[in-house]
Symmetry: none
DNA sequence: AATGAATGAGACTTCATTCAT
DNA sequence: TATGAATGAAGTCTCATTCAT
């Protein structure tokens, strides 16, 4: 999980470091709302500034360009997702329980932050090279966390490294279906809760037969809910 | 699989219907290249016209707006995906083989059309309401095809309707990981082929334990490859 | 005097070459008026377009940037100055008469195009590197013309190459005092005509004693006018 | 040489008069560097403040506007030029020697302060009306100094008042060729020194035959150097 | 049916100046 | 007196769309 310090410094004229952090948080939060509503390109910096509760000129004291803004939004979202995940599994000591909690939390987080996640998937093309690099690093961090949880779950048991890695990728990715197919799922299913439960089961079975978990029964899921 | 007729008519002042179709195909193909390269908003209609091999003025004889163009591109891509899928499973009579072929083809199609699929996921927000509606319909069609394949695979066997639906959704969605996490996967794995194989296995195991397939052994996958 | 072809091509989307020339002339003329009145930086492209008799959007079909505009203005002015000079001395065969006519014309041209020349001296810092290079080339052309006239005036006579060159530079430069010190001169003298006459005499005497002209008496100037 | 007191008061809310002078000198010196490097319009007040070694807010205690700054720079430069000229001729009693020394110094000053002089010629359009008036006054002072030197050189001799005035103007102006045609001269001549010598000779000869100096031979210049 | 020039609304960004501390 | 954050007006340039030929 390691370092969370921004791997990319954005220059500014402002001296007060606390103020910088505070304003940039304002900006990220305001911008996210606007980006979610209209998309990166249709959002004007004026709207963003307004949503952030400051004037355009003021905002440009904390940001060099619109591209900086989108980068801050990505940083903001991924930071929050990481922190929430940490909180969701902290205190749980049993490895399998930790994994299970992480999976469950991931589903809930995707559901809760659906807008933000949709935004991230839709707007990755708007990031400049450097920002993209940083953001991909964040993603990798997140996936490695699942790898680690899987490893701890397996304990002493033998496992295939490739499968473990791929499984981690899938675990992180699959819940995103809730966001990316939101309309489709809403059309075809009654509640998101049942979809989440179904995904949970599909995932666990996939893992299980994948021989990644020692005691499938340990994560037993009722065959019919 | 039902109707493939455009559920949305786009007006034009041109009379020659064959010409309309030809030009619109040109436009869709040219536009797709440009959209893939630069994204919808960064692509100018001038570039699109050039890529389509006609002048801007001419293009506006077949299109009312830039939004029409993106709609045509979506139609073009989804049409091709459907047709290729049809061809991939036609002639296969054994239901389980059909399902398996469809899954495999889906993986390969996602890989082959990675650019186009990335474009579709990133640009859905650029569609106007009507177009979005049509496109969602296409998606539903595609998923229903998987439902049908699953049903045929189950034959007389009992199954849970909810699980079947959800499974269809997941089957269609999971392979898209190849596109949406392309950079991440390329970074973490050697070849796309091994990733595809891994996803295939994960999917089959998920389905299997999900009790959706009568004879899991029928789709048995070597525990270690 | 040689080549007068633009040493710098400015790209445009417009196909009609005649139209390009015409519009660019319009732009140069309009822009010159605005630049003269407000200076390069204070002139807005909107004002320039208006003065050129077209819309801003239209103007940008013939120009890529404001810097292109200033370059066109320089080209326009220097082109006109060259052409007028050619006409002023064409048909005069006696070398000393040609030189004298050139000097006289230069004075009159500086007076006539005072605004334009003031603009050129004030705005050279606004030219980009390439344009500056081209413009310096134009200046050199102009000076070399004086060199040539001096050489022909000297005929077979010996002369010092360095002095001749420097004299040419001074001949071209000195009249510009009319522009660069316009306010000062207007304040201190009655008419520009008398100032021009005075400069002419100062110049001729400078040249004369400079041993650049064979028969000083040939260009004898009444000691008192 | 008369008054050198600023003919234009610039208001400030600061009380300490010594501090005002010191800060304004700082500002003028810092600003000159920036103006020379980037031109008046491209220089930001922030850069100027930085170059002046103070903050923007602080600078506005001594200046009401950016226009005030450019005025101070003009004052600073012309003040220095005047002082240097005074020093260059002080102690020389022979009138012709004084004139000669002034001419020589002027050439050297133009060369030495080439950047500043270029700036002054390029930026005169940026001065507001009042400042321009003051600056023109400074220029007149400078020219009148040459008039005076010429008069003293002529002693009792008769002279034409008009010619004398014009000569003074030319004497002050001609050396500026070193600055205004710097690139051109550098391209065409080996050293600035030889150019300065040449200009000196041209000037003297111009004056001489102009009948402004009693004994031309007194300023005799070897026909070939 | 095709061409390509014209249009003008609107986007991002900069910067001189002010003001609370 | 000094600081530095806030402001908003204004500037350059792009581009989807139209229209005369």
């Amino acid at each position: 999980m390691s370092s969370s310090k921004p791997a990319k410094k954005v220059k500014t004229r402002i001296k007060d470091h606390e103020l910088i952090d505070q304003r940039r948080r304002q900006i990220a939060e305001g911008a996210m709302k606007v980006f979610v509503a209209k998309g990166y390109h249709m959002a004007t910096v004026r709207e963003i500034a307004e949503a952030a509760g400051m004037t355009m000129g003021s905002m440009y004291n904390y940001v060099r360009s619109k591209e900086d803004i989108i980068f801050f939004v990505y940083e903001h979202i991924t930071h929050n997702l990481r922190e929430e995940m940490k909180r969701a599994i902290e205190g749980i000591t049993d490895p399998k329980e930790r994994l299970r909690a992480a999976l469950r939390h991931n589903l809930e987080a995707v559901e809760k932050h659906s807008d933000a996640i949709m935004f991230m998937y839709q707007s990755s093309g708007c990031l400049d090279r450097d920002s993209m690099h940083v953001v991909l690093g964040r993603e990798t961090e997140y996936i490695k966390m699942f790898e680690e949880l899987l490893r701890q779950s397996l304990g002493e048991q033998d496992y295939d490294e490739f499968r473990l890695r791929l499984a981690a990728d899938i675990l992180a990715y699959l819940p995103v279906i809730i966001t990316l197919r939101r309309w489709s799922l809403n059309r075809r299913f009654k509640s998101t809760e049942e979809v989440m439960e179904g995904i949970m089961q599909f995932t666990m079975h996939g893992l299980d037969f994948f021989s990644l978990l020692a005691q499938p029964s340990g994560v037993a899921i009722p065959e019919k809910e």
